[in-house]
């Protein structure tokens, strides 16, 4: 197991280096940089001014040198400066992380707490009206785009309550605090909950057909003990995998949700930084997301090993 962990950690490092190169190159392949964008808004201005600004930002350097400067800075803990705000990139990114982390955690919590029980119920009552209803709900969850669902929630809040759950850094009441994160988390977590439910259902159905379940029933175990102690414990593995993968892919939904609900988190910031071609922000944020994804995958693998003693990866 120890050797496996070391090997996985080494692979993580290689993956991150690969990602850093890919994102760096891709960003520069996209036409236009911040100087183009700033000068675009002004129409044409003096080409000398343009060249001076490119030099000031280091955009005139060869790409390999720009890359080494960035990586060197990262190793020293210096993430550079935002081209737009001219503030240290770290100061721009750090305050936004907890906002997105809270939203993502709530979305995952919502997804697991809704998706797993409903998946179990659906599987246990396979073929019933309840099963069909739940399957319809999960299908709609997978089909509805986050931006549409988010806007729908906002419009409903405004027309029903005359208020909207829009971000406020200093909420005055508990309900306001709840609405700030919980409502958008539900909007973003709905798709994930639907997926979790479908996976739980199919995984449960597979397990419920196994011999040892029949044996448990034959030995007189109660229905709830069979479903939850015997079946769910074994059916949960693929669900954990899906939740892990969803954690990684949640960023896509968060971008839309943070934009619609105007939450100043990392995801919306990333989109804005991309619009401005604010390289230091985009590079560092993508690296941060890559680290989250890689660590999430690593954690899922470790959980696999912990939950299922049969999995020991080369031990």
């Amino acid at each position: 197991m120890f050797a496996y962990i070391v090997r996985r950690l080494a692979l993580m490092l290689v993956t991150l280096i690969g990602i850093s190169i890919i994102i760096f190159v891709l960003l520069r392949v996209v036409p236009g940089n911040i100087v183009d964008i700033l000068f675009d808004a002004a129409g044409f201005v003096d080409p000398t001014d343009k060249a001076n600004l490119e030099k000031e930002l280091g955009l005139d350097l060869p790409i390999w040198q720009q890359y080494l400067n960035w990586i060197g800075g990262l190793l020293r803990g210096d993430l550079g400066y935002s081209y737009v705000s001219e503030k240290p990139a770290l100061d721009e990114i750090l305050p936004r992380i907890p906002i997105t982390a809270r939203l993502a955690a709530l979305a995952l919590l919502f997804s697991a707490s809704i998706g797993i029980p409903l998946g179990v119920i659906s599987a246990v009552h396979q073929g019933s009206k309840l099963d069909y209803t739940l399957r319809l709900v999960s299908l709609s969850g997978l089909s509805l785009p986050s931006f549409w669902l988010g806007l729908l929630v906002l419009m409903a809040s405004v027309s029903l309550f005359g208020a909207m759950p829009i971000y406020n850094p200093n909420p005055k009441t508990w309900t306001e605090a709840f609405a700030i994160y919980a409502v958008p988390a539900m909007a973003v977590g709905f798709r994930s909950a639907a997926l979790t439910m479908r996976i739980t259902r199919s995984s449960m159905l597979e397990i419920l057909r196994q011999d040892y379940i029949r044996t448990a029933r034959a030995k007189g175990a109660s229905e709830s003990s069979v479903n939850y102690r015997h079946a769910l414990k074994n059916a949960i593995l693929p669900v954990i995998t899906v939740i892990g993968i969803e954690a990684a892919f949640l960023i896509g939904g968060l971008i839309v949700t943070e934009t619609v609900f105007n939450i100043p988190g990392v995801a919306r910031f990333l989109v804005e930084a991309l619009r401005w071609r604010d390289y230091p922000i985009v590079q560092n944020l993508v690296m941060l997301i890559a680290v989250v994804v890689v660590v999430a995958n690593f954690t899922v693998d470790m959980l696999y090993a912990a939950i299922d003693p049969r999995i020991r990866y080369g031990d």
């Binding site: 000068f39 808004a41 002004a42 001219e86 806007l151 906002l154 405004v158 829009i166 105007n262």
Partner: protein, 531 residues
């Protein structure tokens, strides 16, 4: 067209009604909450080229002179002193001297003097050691040879030749006076001004906060305790925020006509006005290469346009037809209607215009069996893309098959600069309703914003002639002549001049939306809230 003008006139007539409503004694206090349509790249007005910068940061500053903020139409007559107490032209109209206000302090407590005026304009003219990152309005000061000071409270602009328009340019929201003791870099992130509101905070993509300058040199002003802008890029979310009372006011001139209906349905008590924004939607033609190097094809293009159809589809009839200068009644320099309709393509009989266009196309070798295929380049933004689609549809009637070529914003001007386009759909905003701003920037030989490289030495002479003309009526007639000639030359066919809406809740008082500029009316010192 008559109905469009009638609508505009009605909108103008409605404005005094709001003034009457706000004529009560202003109440003090309150934070005005607005949304901002996007995150401005910087807080530095001099380096900006969009009113996304002027709207939140103009309240931080003062100009030497300013267009009176409660008069909707900017004109020389509405210019009032600001940091200058008075001004005077020399007898030969080549020197403009300002007597400056004494006792004014910057927000950091340092005194304002004539040195600040000199260093601001030296930087704008590119004469000082400190440089702006970008200086988009450098050409405004082409005729200024020097800015001189006489003591701490007098500054003079020495001109190469008379230029009466200089005063209007100085009155624009784009022309605040900067402090000498703060670097251009700091002005981008922590601007210091002398204005009614002090800068508090600018969080990119999040918010901009201003607080009342309790030491403002205009006693009793401002009325508000502060202004907060919440940056919301999603327009639907922003409008929902307004109708659910999260905001007291929308971002000025950013509510489209279809959205306006939605606002009025959901917030029926909201006060909404629709005004011209002095932004012309136009066609840029690459006349340096085939096929548009052929004047016949360019003329056919101009003749094919059904401007009313554009306006009907995009603005439900609420936009204006005109030449380069903003149409009346908002615009001060618009050609008379009869003169405009004598320009090819502006006549009311669209079918006759298109018959003539087809003949010109056939003369150039095109027809029903040999259609001309062109790409119509434009930015990937609805206000650009939508009219480009209509244009393509209209071009079909004169044997031209257009294909939409959407370009990423970052690539739009570099592409145009490389002349890597055949036909393009473009928007041109004018900060000041004055021919000097529009003609020199967009049509003079070698100007960086002259995207089509139009160059006509005869017209250049007329540009200078009108610019130096001190008799306003004579100047106006010259301007009409120039504008007509520009349209006849198909220099940059103007399709329409857009209008847009602004809404606020009835308790917000003292708001004036300018009718001939989107850049000059955001000082907010007169705004107050009746709540």
């Amino acid at each position: 067209m008559r109905s469009v003008h009638a609508l505009a006139a009605a909108a103008l007539l409605l404005l005094p009604a709001y003034d009457v409503a706000s004529a009560a004694e202003p109440k003090q206090g309150g934070i005005l909450r607005m949304y901002h349509r996007d995150s401005p790249g910087s807080a530095s007005i001099h380096e900006g080229a969009t009113y996304s910068v002027n709207i939140p940061f103009m309240p931080v500053f003062n100009n030497l002179v300013i267009f009176k903020q409660d008069v909707p139409q900017n004109s020389v007559e509405s210019i009032v002193p600001d940091l200058a107490e008075s001004w005077a032209w020399s007898a030969d109209n080549k020197k403009l001297t300002f007597k400056l206000r004494q006792g004014v302090k910057w927000h950091d407590g340092k005194p304002f003097t004539s040195a600040d005026v000199k260093c601001t304009f030296d930087m704008l003219m590119g004469k000082s050691q400190q440089k702006f990152r970008q200086n988009p309005r450098k050409s405004w000061y082409d005729q200024v040879s020097d800015v001189t000071v006489n003591g701490d409270f007098e500054a003079s602009f020495e001109l190469k030749r008379p230029q009466p328009a200089l005063l209007s340019l100085l009155a624009s929201g784009y022309t605040p006076v900067y402090p000498c003791h703060v670097s251009p870099g700091d002005m981008r992130t922590k601007p210091v001004g002398t204005g009614p509101f002090k800068f508090v905070e600018f969080k990119a993509n999040e918010s901009i906060k201003l607080t009342k300058n309790t030491d403002y040199w205009k006693k009793g002003l401002p009325h508000l305790d502060g202004i907060e802008f919440t940056i919301i890029t999603n327009r639907s979310t922003a409008i929902l925020g307004f109708v659910s009372d999260k905001f007291d006011m929308t971002f000025p001139t950013e509510v489209s006509i279809p959205l306006l209906k939605e606002v009025k349905t959901q917030a029926p008590k909201a006060v909404c006005v629709v005004e011209p924004i002095n932004v012309a939607t136009n066609i840029i033609v690459n006349s340096s290469s085939p096929p548009f190097d052929n004047l016949d094809i360019r003329r056919a293009l101009a003749l094919s346009l059904d401007r009313k159809a554009f306006i009907q589809i995009m603005f439900e009839g609420q936009a204006d037809i005109g030449g380069t200068m903003l149409p009346a009644p908002g615009g001060l320099w618009a050609m008379p209607k009869e003169m405009m309709e004598s320009i090819p393509g502006y006549g009311p009989d669209i079918n006759a215009n298109r018959d003539e266009a087809r003949k010109l196309m056939q003369k150039a070798g095109y027809g029903p069996d040999k259609r001309l295929a062109v790409k119509v380049a434009t930015r990937n933004i609805p206000i650009y893309r939508d009219p480009a689609v209509i244009l393509i549809d209209q071009l079909k009637s004169i044997y031209i098959d257009g294909e939409l070529d959407v370009v990423d914003t970052a690539q739009w001007f570099p592409k145009v600069a490389r002349k890597d386009y055949t036909l393009g759909l473009n928007l041109t905003g004018n900060a000041v309703d004055d021919p000097d701003q529009s003609f020199y920037e967009n049509y003079s030989c070698g100007s960086e914003r002259n995207y089509t490289n139009y160059c006509n030495r005869e017209i250049e002479k007329l540009f200078d002639q009108q610019s130096a003309e001190t008799d306003k009526e004579k100047r106006r007639k010259l301007v009409w002549e120039i504008d007509k000639k520009l349209q006849e030359d198909v220099a940059r066919p103007i399709i329409f001049h857009g209008r847009s809406g602004t809404c606020w809740h009835p308790y917000v008082k003292g708001v004036t939306i300018m009718v001939n500029s989107s850049y000059n009316g955001y000082r907010y010192e007169d705004v107050w809230m009746d709540k």
